[in-house]
């Protein structure tokens, strides 16, 4: 039994009178793929935003590798080994593909103001090192070589999704959170994306927590599925178990009288 790298316990979030998450608990075992599914408005992205530190939980705990996350500001996540992507791709359009991916390693680079301005010694050598690492790892892994020095704006949607994944991977995270990695992709690219995610999990020590609507992709690639409905966890377990769960069927297909 693998240890749990992420432990969400009893998280409650309310916006005004609306309870977005009520008493949500889930555990993510290390080096596995966990998918969170649920109808629109079920609270999936809210859960991601709580883990990322964007929303404040009224109560509950989120532990990452044994350390409390919720007391830390959002920008500390990258340093402890959590990276994520966004539902509506959050790349920086004014920068090239390589520069966007470099930003993923921001927390690991050390250049200070003076060495950066002089661009001598450490600042220059760490830039060269990160460029080499990008070229050797994520560029080839995700087939982005041909776009390396193009600016991001105007690149096809599927390519932008892969660039964002590359940016999330370059920091060699322990937990990779993917917000709708399959949304908007044609069927062929969905399978490719799923294959790439599984390949990363197999080759590195990363753990994946993802949100999506695409049942087929999720059921095929996940080790564990957590189902949210109206801000509550209604089922959790292996894909097979969750698919057979009457509460899940009810949430997706409607209640039978």
């Amino acid at each position: 039994m693998a240890t749990d790298i992420l432990d969400v316990a009893g998280v409650n979030v309310a916006f005004g009178g609306i309870r977005a998450l009520s008493d949500v608990s889930l555990r993510v075992p290390e080096r596995s793929v966990t998918a969170v599914i649920g109808p629109n408005g079920a609270g999936k992205t809210t859960l991601f935003n709580v883990i990322s530190g964007f929303y404040r939980a009224q109560s509950g705990n989120v532990m990452f590798a044994g350390a409390d996350l919720l007391s830390q500001p959002a920008h500390t996540r990258s340093g402890v080994g959590i990276s994520r992507t966004f539902q509506n791709i959050a790349l920086f359009p004014g920068m090239t593909v390589a520069e966007n991916i470099k930003l993923g390693a921001h927390a690991q680079l050390r250049a200070n103001l003076f060495s950066a301005m002089l661009y001598l010694g450490s600042a220059a050598s760490e830039e060269r090192a990160i460029e080499r690492r990008i070229d050797e790892t994520v560029m080839t892994l995700l087939g982005l070589e041909e776009f390396r020095d193009s600016s991001v704006s105007g690149l096809p949607y599927g390519t932008q999704k892969r660039i964002e994944l590359a940016r999330a991977l370059i920091s060699q995270p322990r937990l990779l959170m993917l917000d709708e990695p399959f949304a908007g992709l044609p069927t062929a690219e969905k399978a490719k994306m799923a294959g790439q995610i599984r390949k990363v999990v197999a080759e590195t020590s990363v753990t994946v927590l993802l949100i999506d609507h695409d049942m087929e992709s999720i059921m095929n690639m996940s080790d564990q599925v957590v189902v949210l409905n109206f801000g509550q966890v209604i089922a959790a377990g292996t894909p097979g178990k969750v698919q057979a769960d009457p509460a899940v069927i009810e949430a997706y297909l409607g209640a039978e009288e």
Partner: protein
């Protein structure tokens, strides 16, 4: 791979990075041009070159704050004032050398910039611009009213500086050298994590946080660096004009630098150079144009000053409408690096 379905080669997407050889060549040409000014130019040309170099430093600084980090500031000249007064006071009271005074100017403006950068943590855009007006007016008030230190409206007069016994030419080379170093340093900054974090905060601050960027620190540093550049420019201006008084650091002057950023190109070092060059030369260019159309010398002087303000405003508006990327947009097009966003969207 479906990305290739669109058939266009990668080169047609987006703007490619500039060939390093072209960039190196441009820097060499720039240095040659700067070095040669006193050799072929008149005394007036050297004077103008000095002023341009000082304005380049200030414009690069404002472009870091406004163009790269996206923090709109209309109080930039106040930070020039801080640098000018700080270095002038060091010089007058302690007799410290120019190089040291430049550092004092930069550090004091950086510190004051951090304080006036605090509103940038909470507000953006036009609201932030209004908040930076506070820097403009409160610092102007200090320059004017703290008479025992600043000399009030009369300001401070400085002795003539003589660099290695070469007089004005020697001083020009000092200014040119500082401008070159400051510009190169800014260019280097945007090759590293710090510069990238400015752009990230400007474009999507939530994504920047996820990538481990502390938005609060980044915004403050971006504001501070911009002010520090202004401080260096102010210290050089003080040594150059040999007088420091409050009326050098008014809102009009801040708008001048903002215009230089917009006309040159936001978020571009080359744009900062071109913008400062263009804006500093513009009064002379205007004079030429007016002289071309009017024969009477008397009309000239009376016409010039109001026309100047109108022309500044008109230029900003025209650039915003027709070439939002500024003069650097023309350069990109000439080098075939145009982004052609419209053309792409037609596919």
């Amino acid at each position: 791979m479906s990305a290739q379905v669109s058939a266009a080669p990668a080169a047609s997407f987006g703007r490619k990075a500039l060939d390093p050889r072209i960039e190196l060549l441009s820097w060499i040409l720039l240095v040659l041009a700067m070095v040669s000014v006193p050799l072929w130019g008149s005394v007036y040309a050297v004077y103008m070159a000095c002023l341009i170099a000082i304005n380049v430093i200030a414009t690069v600084g404002l472009n870091i704050t406004v163009g790269y980090a996206g923090l709109l500031s209309i109080g930039h000249s106040a930070f020039l004032g801080v640098g000018a007064y700080a270095s002038a006071l060091m010089w007058l009271h302690l007799g410290t050398p120019l190089a040291f005074n430049l550092v004092v100017g930069a550090v004091s403006a950086f510190a004051v910039g951090l304080v006036f950068g605090i509103p940038a943590l909470r507000i953006k855009g036009v609201y932030l611009a209004i908040a930076t007006l506070a820097a403009q007016y409160s610092l102007y008030f200090v320059f004017q009213q703290w008479t025992s230190v600043t000399g009030g409206d009369r300001g401070l007069s400085l002795p003539k500086i003589d660099v290695f016994g070469y007089g004005d030419t020697g001083f020009y080379y000092v200014v040119a050298f500082v401008a070159l170093v400051a510009t190169l340093a800014a260019r280097n900054l945007f090759r590293t994590r710090i510069g990238r974090s400015f752009i990230a905060v400007r474009e999507k601050d939530y994504a920047a946080q996820v990538l481990g960027i502390n938005v609060v620190v980044t915004k403050l540093v971006a504001f501070g660096i911009g002010a520090a550049y202004a401080g260096v420019a102010g210290a050089l201006l003080a040594a150059f004009l040999r007088i420091v008084n409050p009326d050098q650091f008014t809102l009009v002057s801040s708008v001048f630098f903002l215009a230089a950023v917009v006309v040159g190109g936001r978020g571009s070092i080359l744009g900062s150079i071109l913008g400062a060059l263009f804006m500093t030369m513009m009064p002379d260019l205007l004079r030429e144009v007016i002289a071309h159309f009017s024969s009477e010398g008397a009309d000239l002087a009376s016409l010039l000053s109001p026309v100047r303000e109108i022309a500044f405003g008109l230029l900003i508006v025209l650039f915003l409408i027709f070439e939002p990327r500024g003069l650097v947009g023309f350069v990109d097009r000439a080098l075939g690096r145009a982004e052609n966003v419209e053309a792409r969207q037609e596919h």
